[in-house]
């Protein structure tokens, strides 16, 4: 029972972190109709900027400044890169963001080198918050949960209750009408892109000390973020939240409970073949859940795309 609680908290942290990335990505998708492959690269930039700033000004200033820089960089990419490529169609746009992801990774290696950066949890938060049956929960995890939830509530408030949010929502569905009413729609798009990447930057700032700040960090999380928004339904904020939490919990539980394929197969009535080490399918018999934890999201995504192409909460097919 205690272990379940610990896993629930761990999965929640992973899920909320994923959500901070997927929220921005799904907003950008519903706006421009293009998946931003470089989204996780902005997350990486957030971590690296935060590391550099925290050396000079400390963690809290980094948490404030790094996302702003990342957001400005993102807005610049939209204004001078994506808007230019937009005229060639969707596939070149996707390829452009893919190239950008490669380039940012190379750029980061160029500036900071290939090694992991010594970007650590700030001392203020480096203590044990409480313990559940001997498993200590670090205060930093609680801090991550609070930041993510605060951002989600803030985002929801802005999008649904404020005038700016109303205009954004309208611009997502009827850009021409909104433009005819006198709003600067390209500016709104640039702003949403900037805010989306800034959210990824925040995720980078708070995840950098836990998951490690190294040039491969974008690649590790990048494809999972896509999987998340595809499962949740492209363009759906609630879908992104549900899918993020789902993936967070599934991977955490698969890692901590060692479920063996042999037991499952035996359970459904297939008996273990004799001299297993000679069998062609020996690797399938030997599968365990921690082994496949990292590919479970992909399996889930392929299944979702086959049986419900619009995703869990998606309304439209692209």
């Amino acid at each position: 029972m205690e272990l379940i609680l610990v896993n629930l908290i761990d999965g929640l942290v992973t899920g909320l972190l994923l959500f901070m990335l997927s929220a921005g990505l799904t907003l950008i998708f519903s706006m421009m109709g293009v998946l931003n492959f470089a989204h996780a690269s902005f997350y990486m930039l957030g971590a690296y900027f935060a590391y550099q700033i925290s050396l000079a000004l400390g963690f809290w200033m980094a948490l404030l400044i790094a996302p702003i820089i990342v957001g400005v960089a993102g807005a610049g990419v939209e204004r001078y890169g994506l808007r230019r490529v937009h005229q060639y169609g969707h596939v070149p746009e996707l390829i452009f963001t893919f190239g950008l992801a490669l380039l940012i990774e190379e750029l980061v290696q160029f500036i900071w080198g290939k090694n992991q950066m010594p970007y650590d949890i700030p001392d203020v938060l480096n203590f044990t918050a409480f313990a559940i049956a001997g498993n200590s929960i670090p205060a930093y995890k609680i801090f991550m949960i609070f930041i993510s939830v605060a951002i989600f509530i803030g985002l929801l408030y802005i999008l649904t209750k404020t005038r700016v949010g109303m205009i954004i929502q309208a611009a997502l569905s009827y850009p021409r009408t909104v433009e005819a009413l006198g709003h600067n729609v390209p500016l709104i798009f640039m702003g949403v892109f900037g805010v989306g990447t800034a959210l990824a930057g925040v995720a980078g700032v708070i995840a950098g000390p836990v998951l490690g700040t190294f040039p491969g960090m974008a690649f590790v999380l990048g494809s999972i973020v896509f999987v998340t928004i595809v499962i949740g339904g492209l363009g759906s904020l609630w879908g992104a939240l549900v899918a993020s939490l789902l993936i967070g919990w599934i991977t955490t539980f698969a890692k901590s409970y060692n479920i063996e394929m042999e037991d499952i197969l035996n359970g459904i009535g297939i008996s273990t073949p004799e001299n297993l080490s000679e069998n062609v399918f020996r690797d399938i018999w030997a599968l365990t859940s921690p082994q496949i934890a990292d590919i479970l999201p992909y399996i889930l995504m392929v299944l979702i795309l086959i049986f419900r192409p619009a995703g869990l909460f998606g309304k439209r097919e692209s």
């Binding site: 998946l35 890169g81 230019r84 490529v85 005229q87 060639y88 169609g89 969707h90 596939v91 070149p92 996707l94 390829i95 452009f96 893919f98 190239g99 950008l100 490669l102 380039l103 190379e106 750029l107 290696q109 160029f110 500036i111 080198g113 690649f219 494809s223 896509f226 999987v227 595809v230 492209l234 062609v280 399918f281 020996r282 690797d283 399938i284 599968l287 082994q291 496949i292 990292d294 590919i295 992909y298 399996i299 995504m301 392929v302 795309l305 086959i306 192409p309 097919e317 692209s318």
Partner: protein
Amino acid sequence: MPKGAKPEDQITTDPSKPAQRMRAGSMTLTWGPWIVAAVLLIILPYIFTSNSALTIMNQMWITVVFALAYNMLLGQGGMLSFGHAVYAGVGGFACMHIMNNTDFFSSFPLPLLPIFGGLFGMGLALIVGAFSTRSAGTVFAMISLGVGELIAACSIIIVAFFGGEEGVSGDRTYAMPFFGNEFLQQGDVYYLTAFWVFVSAALMYLWSRTPVGRMANAVRDNPERAEFLGYSARWVRFYSFVASGFFAGVSGALFAINYEILTEENLNAASSGVILLVTFLGGVGFFFGPIIGAIVFTLVQTVLSLETELWAFYAGSLFVATVMFFPGGLAGLIMMHVPPLRLGKLNLLVMPYIKTLIPAAIGILGLCSLVEMTFHYRHGATGDHEMTLFWTTFDSHTLLPWLVAGAVALGGILVARATAPSLKEAWDEANTPGGAS
């Protein structure tokens, strides 16, 4: 596209102008290029005789087959795949297992092995294509990414087939001698590879002329209209996908024959990304685009990676610049010059090109030196201040080389900017029919 030219000046893959693409497409290719290609493939080893040159050429031709197969999806079918390395990899792994099955392999001529690689690639494509080709665009791209990641991850888990982290290795010389040839020499392997490159390229070209190949273009440009004409967009995509899987498998088999080892690297997302980069760099709008892309990319990779650690950075920058400014790729750039050539006005462009492109190239080299110096300054070993760049050795911690490189970069780019308008004028003039200048 030259600096300052508007996108509408170019005849490339502009989705809004499918008719133009057809006109400038591969319809013009006749027997000539194929004979030239065959002769080149045969005589190249006599020109570049060293073993390393043979290795590079083999690598190049394998990439050519793979890039052409990829372009069957991206260029001709409009399907963007982020996991195509999987089909080449699985074909290659299957071939390694055939090689390791000594009883069977010793009665089997090696040159036929790529057929088996192709069949296994095709088999996998049949399975995956059954559900992934239902729609193009983002959904297809995401399924390809997911399946690619899945199979790449399986390579660590399913050790029996993929050999885990050390991969599967074999020995091609156990095959039945093919007219007395056991393929011990690199040169023999070269001709095997060259034969298969030629055959695959010809087959893929012929495929693009068949009704299915033409319908793939139609489905890419306007699936609704194709459906309205009575064709199932899904089946057309499926056929393209399966054919592409076959030729990807052939390239994987050629890889297996050349290197005699396959690892997880042949399957992973990085390989899939590289082939996208190669194909797009070469140009997706023309049949010969991926060939150019593969040749240029392999050369850039081998030559630049000897010269600088930052070659991937340059390749990435080149890729992003290509997507932003020349979406037709290198092939698009070349084909842009066909209308001036037909008008007999190509000579008008020579001087403006020299005036603009040479300063631009010098400026870019200056920028590259700045980049290299920064890299050396930040990551060089402590106390190691000497660096060699463009055959000059200097101290990277003094101001002078920075000033020189900065001035060269700035000067080159400023001159190129100043002469760009006249290039634009010359370009417009060269593309205007009639009227002597």
